[in-house]
Amino acid sequence: MNEIILCHGLTKTFGAVRALDNVELTLPRGRIVGLLGPNGSGKTTLIKLLCGLLQPTSGTVEIDGCAVGVHTKSVTSYLPDRMYFADWMRAGDLVDLFADFYRDFDRTKCTGMCAALGIHARDRIKTMSKGTKEKLQLALVMSRRAQLYLLDEPIAGVDPAARDFILNTILTNYNEDGTVLLSTHLISDIERVLDEAVFLKAGRVVRHESVDSIRETEGKSVDALFREIFRTQPMEGGAW
């Protein structure tokens, strides 16, 4: 089976709000895919459904040929848009935890990455800065040889230098046989690394194409196409 992700008729509603609407999506293995859309387009909802943190209202999700469950979680490496550490832990506890639960976790690689970042096993999570916690979380997630990496807004809210660090860490550490699904609305920063782009608008997949094909057929960059698709027209008088 070449597909790593298979979504069929995937819909998620929160009360009256339809966050995802009948999403049909198939992603192959060994690709870096950008999940692109403005805030509130359903990127995080889709990633959470793939992780099993949310349950679909209707439709199905398959990862590596299985419904979301123990197997899919064992092959998926997830970087959420928030810190998920318990404050009583030390960096070493987290490395132990990943080594205990994920067979594909490379402890040596993680320890090396942490050492390069100045993070030591005895360091308390409670006393780390937000930036250090984010780097530790990234090191843990990218030290796995996963089939699927789900990275939710990894470069949002960080300075340009940190963005470069994060992207380089992802590119130099991911399993090349696996797929990276990376959500963002900062297209220009990630365009150079993408193989495919999925455009989400109001919970619907409005376009899914390879980046090369977009450049060939549209004659423009993914960033330019993104701006075209998601442009909001100002009303007369200056109001939006």
Binding site: L53, V70, K73, T76, R82, Y84, D93, F101
Partner: protein, 263 residues
């Protein structure tokens, strides 16, 4: 995998109680010793301070155990930490088991430390270790002379205590999980659910007791010396608590597996 989960839940448990448990034992010892101090005025002041401290630590231990039960489940699974726990390759049932066993351990060790503190206090107060050991020996001799039926009853009583504790913790978990389904104010919804289900549980257990009463097996008879089969009564009560625990566990597991909504 459950054992691996337990490893981290126990680490969290022991880090949280690392100071409280030894503090309770040390304060009990110091309080006991303060009784023997002279002159009387110094002893009075010290005694007063130690009683306050000891009472504070004992109360803190109870409150900490209650908070531990709620927070290890609520914060550990249904808030930010849940993003890690629910992406581990484990089932919802394994997560609940791990939280349950660590919460039961917190309550049991806190209870044992509380009991141990009072024993230590008594031993330090009498200051005559010989008396203390003589009393312990007397107790052991009494226990050795108990017949098989009494041992069976004691074992059943112990098991009932454990199952009832598990049922109460699982009830709290189920109510937190039900609160998680509420579109807003999950904490309030969880408290509301707890009030409703606690009342329902009392109703069910009193129904079971009435049924046993009609069969001449009421639990009350066990303590009033009424005729009956105490071992059977205890066994049936354990079964009733087990049934409740199973229902609470199943509902919690269903919500965490099929209705999880970490927004």
């Amino acid at each position: 995998m459950t054992l691996k989960l337990l490893k981290y839940d126990f680490r969290s448990l022991f880090k949280r109680f690392a100071l409280l448990w030894p503090a309770a034992l040390v304060l009990a010892l110091l309080l006991g010793l303060s009784f023997n101090l002279e002159p009387l005025r110094v002893r009075g002041m010290l005694y007063f301070t130690m009683v306050l401290l000891f009472g504070g630590v004992m109360a803190a231990m109870g409150v900490a155990a209650a908070i531990f039960i709620v927070r290890r489940f609520n914060d550990g699974l249904l808030k930010d930490e849940g993003y890690l726990m629910f992406t581990l390759p484990v089932t919802g049932a394994q997560l609940i088991c791990s939280k349950l066993l660590s919460a039961m351990t917190a309550v049991l060790i806190s209870g044992l430390v509380g009991l141990g503190s009072f024993i230590l206090l008594g031993a330090a107060f009498t200051f005559y270790l010989e008396d203390f050991f003589r009393m312990a020996q007397w107790l052991l001799e009494k226990l050795a002379r108990l017949d098989a039926e009494t041992w069976l009853l004691a074992a059943e009583g112990l098991l009932l205590g454990l199952v009832a504790l598990a049922a109460q913790i699982l009830l709290i978990y189920m109510c937190i999980a039900i609160g998680h389904l509420a579109p807003s104010h999950p904490g309030l919804a969880a408290v509301g659910a707890w009030l409703v289900f606690s009342a329902a549980e009392r109703h069910v257990l009193s129904g079971v007791d009435s049924l046993l009463d009609r069969m001449g097996l009421a639990l009350a008879g066990l303590f009033n010396g009424l005729p009956g089969e105490p071992a059977v009564t205890l066994a049936l009560t354990i079964c009733a608590q087990l049934a409740l625990s199973t229902v609470y566990f199943a509902v919690t597991n269903y919500i965490l597996t099929h209705r999880l909504n970490l927004e």
